[in-house]
Amino acid sequence: MRGFPDHDVDRLLDEIRGDAAFQERLTNWKVIPAREAVTAPFPQNIDPRLIGAMKSRGIERLFSHQSEALERAARGENIVVVTPTASGKTLCYNLPVLNELLARPESRALYLFPTKALSADQLDELHGIVTSTGGDVKTFTFDGDTPADARRAIRSAGHIVVTNPDMLHSGILPHHTRWVKLFENLKFVVLDELHHYRGVFGSHLANVIRRLKRICRFYGSNPRFICCSATIANPGELASRLLEDAVTVVDKNGAPSGEKHFLLYNPPVVNRELGIRRSVIKESRDVADRFLEKGCPTIVFARSRLTVEVLTTYLKEKMSRRHKNPELIQGYRGGYLPTERRAIEGALRDGSVLGVVSTNALELGIDIGSLEVSVMCGYPGTVASAWQQAGRAGRRQGRSVAVMIASSSPLDQYMVAHPDYFFGRPPEGAVLNPDNLVILMSHVKCAAFELPFEDGENFGACQEDLDELLHFLEEHRVLRHVGNRWHWMADVYPAGDVSLRSATTDNVVIHDVVNDRVIGEIDWPTAPLIVHDEAIYLHQSRQYQIERFDYENKRANARPVEVDYYTDAESKTDIKVLDIFEERPAPGGQRAHGEVAVTTLPVLYKKIRFHTHENVGWGYIHLPEQEMQTTSFWFSYGENDHQTLGVTAEEMGLGLKALANILSQVAPLFVMGEPHDLRAVAMVQSPFTRRPTVYVYDNHPGGVGFSERIFEDCARLFRSAGELVGGCPCPDGCPSCVGPALEIGPRGKELAVRLLALGGMEDRGVLSGQGLSAASRPSASAEA
């Protein structure tokens, strides 16, 4: 524990309370009271060596959720533990696993972490416990960096193999015969940070787990799963969809916590018309520095690597100006060497570093001791993440502060304006679709490569499609059916072509022609809008100009440049409905979801100057149109609604455009998606519905479940978007809400508010959502 006296934070909080200018920018000051620990004794049947090891680390009793996890896992239940940061969650899986391994040394366990950075840290803690039990439990990390000569030992002797889903998918499962010991004796699979496995990644992971279980069945094992998740709306649902099995939710947190002050902070408006607020970076610098100046250990979270660098520089400058050592401030992000990272972590723990600026790399379980202040430079994208970042300050005792500083993006603005939403029940549900055809087929191929399918075999929950897929692959000479089995019949290694992070199998390679190296790859569907000829492509904050996009060969040639503008491509999008899954009348219109074909024709690009955002040129894009089949949600209004609303058809078109803009911004909030996961398109008269219609579609071929979720919860989405637009101080629209007035016309914002109100009307007979308390309030008053 750190030796900083508690009154530093207290004094600062008092000072802030008396600072009128600061107070004015706060949209909420929430005090979360301290909580007492709820403990339980060690359950029966725990190896005494393990209890001894715990006691030697000062743990006399377990927190209630730890002991519940231990008991349930020992009974053979699959569990998902849902607890906040600093609640001792790693013991929830380390205890059951070590207890098993101490009792039966031939047993094995597999730990999966979504990223590599975590593993080193987890390993240290685990080694510590193992050493104090005196037992012989060998733990190894197996990933792309594992040297070839160490791999053999890991395969045969590793009791606990720590890896990530990508390595399991491409490096372990396709070579399962080298891992006989592991698969024959696999008792536990640990999935930490479960909430990361959503959308495309989750849909892939569900299939990797199908393959894993299939291999385990072959070797006669049947492992149990122990999952840990941050707080989301549907941890149990997420876990059982990933595992396709019953899962018990363990969510009664018994860990104590100190008092926490959570502040929502909105930088002041500097230009009402353009909706521009004071820079979130400068504001974060000033807020963080206030705490650093008083000697409070502080972590600042930024959303990009570039922002980390900028903020680190700013804060070091502030230190220097006060004649303090600037090295008290450190940056931390992916791309730093592991040794540098370990050094910074250690310095944070022992207090020789006071402040750290980090990407979300430090959001997760890396031990950096207990800090007192967490400053978020921008909303991290999900409420779950915001709580994890806030949790890096303040562990089990003492007062701590978290300040979330909003950028001018619509989501950020929504969050600071709606503390009820933020502090209420977790709003976001993780979605996934393991039966997305592209993803499913990729993994059926991988699975067939690993072991021939047998007639009548299941692959997860998709029996019907499996038979069809196998026949399909036979027709395409990928499989051969003989003797009741489907044999792999191709000279390729299928896992090598499948990335778990993308729903497409095709990528465009971006090649730096000056330095003759590949600088990146992007998904085929989005390529025409990003790497068209003349586009400015950003990579690690360097600018490249695309010299030529070779459409046939899926290759873009780029040249490093330094220019003061970026490019923004515009495209014409057309949507054709292929199949309706579900359709329901809504009070303000009609809502539906189904399968659609989206065609995108890139039209032109604009050159936009940094900072001033003025348009400094444009050009045509000459590329063929792209077609993608995916799933979509759509909402259609009454045929004559524009007359009812008293606007012309043209105005209606602009209003719908404004509506599409805001929906595509807010929708990711409800599905824990990223902005690029969803797109929205509006049509004054959709050829399919013949009505004014807005489509919100899944931007991944085949869809990964987002649109269905939006369909279920659409009234709430429209209301939230309505509140955001209504609460925005701009007169006629701005980039923080429905888009600039230039784009959506003088009445666009007003119309969008009315269209959102129609769509947000309570759908009687359907329980819609979770009773967002803000919904009952008048939507037009801004709190700021």
Binding site: P174, V180, L437, E475, W488, D491, T505
Partner: protein
């Protein structure tokens, strides 16, 4: 909408061959030269050929491999304990597979195995007409392995043998002992012939070393596709070139062994090969033999670049033997002929510490420093380190000279 329409629309078909109707399974006819072979796991096809011991495959008769003495075997494996390897009881093995990338989905559809027996050299080819014949084939292979005490392959340590081990597991068959003494001739070839051959495939060895003529051979990378075509079309002529390819591969294993043994006896006429043997002996700490072998290689050397390399190895080997005078002779040749930096450094060191000729040492240091200043050395990674070492030697020498002068 059918599944294939949906898959097409969502673009899941990139990189997949076009669909073609699945023909009715054709009857599994027998192939000429092969006979059905049945066991408790089913049936597969096998061919057998017995070659007389004096059969010449290229410039070597098969029996030359049998004459391989223990010392030579040790050198070929770079492992003295392999001197006990019994060629007469070894299994010569080469597989043809459905893929070249490895992983559980790759199958060996044709396994060529051979071994010496009193009357000659017997080659068997085990072939599966379809995937369901694999268990029977593997089971028979495990019986053949039981009679053998070692394995000879070309790249089998990392490819054929692990692949077969995987196939036994994937078919839930009791695995035979595959962890036998294993002479992987690819490793041997790398040590012996890489100094003169740019490519070390079995085919290139055949051309350059073994004098084996292959006609109408099929490139290895084509083989999986031929087998897949055979599975649907059942035309045995598709696989004829694969069968003969595999047969030649197995026979060539014997010839590589014979050629290697000859090289170890110092009978080869190839300078690179002699050098390769010498290097191997050197690596095995057989110092005196290594020195002799280097000298034998030097005797044939016509090409200056190789001569320089060989001479340098010889100089080092002599020094390790403690024969510093002879070593110095070689270093001097190197220094005079090529202004060789290693030689100048070695001579400087010798002059300073051994012969205590400080002037000579100084001269060598100056020459070395000048040499180090040439563009080729300035670009080399070790430049700075070497320069620093030479400078400190120069300083020390100056101090010694000053003291001596005083």
């Amino acid at each position: 909408m059918t599944l294939s329409d949906r898959l097409r629309r969502i673009g899941a078909l990139h990189g997949i061959a076009p669909a073609a109707p699945i023909p009715e399974p054709a009857p599994r006819e027998e192939l000429s030269g092969f006979l059905p072979c049945s066991n408790m796991y089913g049936t597969f096809l096998m061919s057998e050929r017995l070659y007389p011991l004096e059969h010449a495959h290229g410039r070597h008769a098969l029996q030359e491999a049998l004459a391989c003495e223990a010392g030579a075997l040790g050198v070929l494996a770079r492992d003295r304990s392999m001197g006990a390897f019994d060629v007469s009881r070894a299994l010569f093995l080469d597989t043809e597979t459905t893929g070249l990338s490895g992983g559980t989905g790759t199958v060996a559809f044709l396994v060529g195995v051979a071994g010496f027996e009193p009357g000659g050299f017997r080659v068997r080819q085990l072939f599966m007409r379809d995937f369901d014949e694999e268990p029977a084939l593997l089971f028979h292979l495990s019986l053949l392995l039981e009679e053998r005490t070692g394995i000879v392959t070309y790249n089998g340590k990392s490819f054929d043998v692990p692949l077969l081990a995987t196939r036994f597991i994937a078919n839930r068959l009791p695995a035979p002992e595959l962890d036998l003494p294993h002479l992987d001739l690819l490793h041997t070839a790398r040590r012996l012939w890489r100094h003169e051959l740019s490519e070390l495939t079995l085919a290139s060895l055949e051309r350059s070393v073994l004098a084996v003529m292959r006609t109408g051979d099929v490139p290895g990378m084509m083989i999986p596709a031929l087998y897949f075509r055979f599975l649907t079309e059942r035309r045995s002529d598709l696989l004829e070139p694969v069968f003969s390819h595999n047969l030649l591969d197995v026979l060539s294993l014997v010839s590589v062994l014979a050629a290697g043994a000859r090289a170890c006896r110092g009978e080869g006429e190839r300078v690179g090969e002699r050098y390769g043997v010498a290097r191997t002996l050197d690596a095995m700490s057989a110092r005196e033999e290594a020195v002799q072998a280097y000298r034998r290689a030097l005797a044939l050397c016509r090409e200056p670049a190789l001569e320089r390399t060989v001479r340098k190895s010889l100089a080092r080997a002599l020094a390790r033997l403690g024969n510093h005078d002879e070593s110095a002779v070689e270093w001097r040749t190197l220094a005079d002929r090529w202004d060789d930096l290693d030689a100048l450094e070695a001579l400087a060191k010798r002059a300073e510490h051994r012969t205590r000729d400080l002037a000579e040492a100084s001269a060598c240091v100056e020459r070395a420093l000048a040499r180090l200043n040439s563009p080729i050395y300035r670009a080399v990674r070790t430049h700075d380190r070497r320069r620093a070492a030479l400078l400190s030697r120069r300083e020390r020498l100056h101090a010694k000279l000053a003291r001596a002068g005083a």
